[in-house]
Amino acid sequence: MIVRNITMLGHKDHGKSTLIGSMLMLTNSVTKARIREAKVYSKKLHKSFEPAFILDSFHEERTGGLTIDITRAEIPYRDVAFSFIDVPGHEELIKNMISGASYASTALLLVSAKKDEGIRDQTKRHLYIARMLGIRNLVVAVNKMDTVRYKEARFSEMRDGLLPFINKIGFGEDAVKFVPISAYRGEGIVSKSGNMKWYKGEPLIETLYAMSADESNDSSGPVRVILQGFLDGKKDLIVGKLVRGTLREGENDICTIPQNERIKIKGIIVNGKRVKKAVAGEPVALQLDKKISGEARGSIICGFLYCPIPKSTITARIFLTEMLGKDFSIKFNGIDLPVKSIKVNRYIDTTTGEASSKKAIEPLNAADATISLESKVPVEKFDETRELGRFVLYSRGKFAGIGTVL
């Protein structure tokens, strides 16, 4: 079955884990033993049954009533399987949220309609991060409708409150749909809810099916192979991942970057077998006509005509989870690169999407910045080749944020 990766988004306690738990039960996609375990545990903690416990398995997650780290749950629907990635909504755990969301192509945002909950910081910040990560498809579930007597007015209030922000950060008008639900009571999820007859759209799961798309690799674009290094014990075979294009045996319009050396592909091995061509997404082992100079890791192989020009200065949008220390580095293309200097050009508040000329960078917010590195690297715009247009920031050896090349 084709898997579609869908990340949850949303402020803490708005019902992300509960929704996945409910969906698993409503679609019969979880064993009885797992449900029983969650029920017994809820009782032990003197709570009424929490469907979230099917996902939240750590003791501290259950006693604290929060998700600490990401997990996945698979639900088959029609001809696909959704792989839901549950993420924490707590601000301090945003590095885990980014980890989970980075694997998704579609996002399911939850916003609670309950009084005093509504649109909150993480509702918007998560959306901002999802956009940065390149997620294009979005469904917004307005949750806890049972607590507001299923009133359409509250649903509209949430939708109208969020739409301007959604459009501002670049989700297209057609790329988002709103669905009213009650995750806890299982309403509006797999079938229409009798309590919300005013809602004329499809239930959540069908909306997700329509709004998400199959994930595919771009095998028609220019060739890009990210090199991992030499195959263990074999100096004549180089391994890596073909992230874009189609590579053919015998091809000689090919070069290595940043070395800028023209090479010829003498042989290709994919998944243990010798093949005439490899397509995007495949891990490859390559036999070249000559030894490449310098380090293989951190270099790429690409088409001679369309190859990125190596640069030591890059402009990027960055999102920080930590204050940057004196010395920090970016992890790009499999290697650590020390940063010489960083200059902020534009500061972006991730809860409003507003840019300002403030020259500071702050955790939980974003900035467009110019980063100078010690060496030249083969970068591309994130919109061009994702794998060569993104990096991870490390400060004192600790994860500090992400960046995408503009």
Binding site: T31, K32, R34, E37, D232, G334, V392
Partner: protein, 261 residues
């Protein structure tokens, strides 16, 4: 049970196994002679063109099934494996049961130290149980083998955890696979398997521990094909034949965070 695209799964596992060899200087793998760790070895043979380029460790408590020992001898010869047998003693563990899962860590700690391994490939899958579904592809353990599960490193795109300053890193190349995918892959690639998985007198082992903690489940599946068919419709848990998992998730978690397997 959801059947995923085997090619996609295979590709990701091969990528992770190669990353492990690139990033770490002294990699080893745990091999229990079960279906998962044997499938991992089959994937490693593909990733490294016919040979498994790291030692495989069997933590032997001397109470595994005779079939398991026979399978160990057979496959390590056939695939030319660099086999390390580490013996573990059977004694009551902190919560009082004398069995493989809880006694093996001591033996593992010893062998990891003796050979100075900095990375350990473990063939766990996310669908096995709730705690395992919270694992990363690469996960640091400290020098006492503890898992700091409340503060796991970020892991996104293809950026995996680097060398642990102390301790080692666990590598989980099969994290994405479901039980049924493992069997479909075994079928497709004709991977040799331990005969205990096949039904005898109406029972088969679905998950293998040692003779103390594993009981067979009712099944008539006599071949890999039968097993795949059985799993398509099963409603029971894979590890229902394991006494250890019957205890609650919290105990499992505490044990894992303390360095137990």
């Amino acid at each position: 049970m959801i059947e995923q695209n085997l090619k996609t799964l295979e590709e990701k596992s091969i990528y992770i196994l190669r990353e492990a060899k690139q990033k770490f200087s002294n990699v080893a793998a745990l091999w229990s002679m079960g279906k998962d760790s044997t499938t991992m070895l089959a994937l490693a043979r593909k990733a490294f063109l016919g040979k498994v380029p790291f030692p495989v460790i069997h933590i032997d408590n001397r109470i595994d099934f005779p079939e398991t020992y026979a399978f160990r001898e057979y496959l390590s010869k056939k695939w030319n494996l660099d086999l390390i047998v580490a013996y573990s003693e059977i004694k009551p563990d902190p919560i009082g049961s004398a069995c493989c899962g809880r006694n093996k860590p001591e033996a593992l700690k010893k062998v990891m130290k003796e050979y100075n391994f900095d990375a350990l490939i473990v063939s766990i899958r996310r669908d096995e149980h709730g705690i395992r579904s919270k694992e990363r592809y690469m996960s640091p353990r400290d020098e006492k083998f503890r898992w700091d599960y409340k503060n796991q490193p970020a892991e996104l795109w293809d950026d995996y955890a680097s060398k642990a300053t102390k301790g080692h890193v666990r590598i989980h190349p099969l994290l994405d696979w479901n039980e049924i995918d493992i069997w479909r892959y075994i079928q497709q690639e004709k991977v040799p398997v331990n005969p205990l998985y096949f039904s005898r007198n109406g029972f088969r082992y679905r998950s293998l521990g040692c003779t103390h903690c594993t009981v067979p489940v009712k099944s008539d599946a006599k071949s890999v094909k039968d097993i795949v068919k059985e799993l398509k419709i099963t409603k029971t848990e894979e590890r229902s034949g394991r006494s250890m998992d019957k205890e609650n998730e919290y105990v499992m978690q505490r044990l894992r965070s303390l360095g137990y397997m």
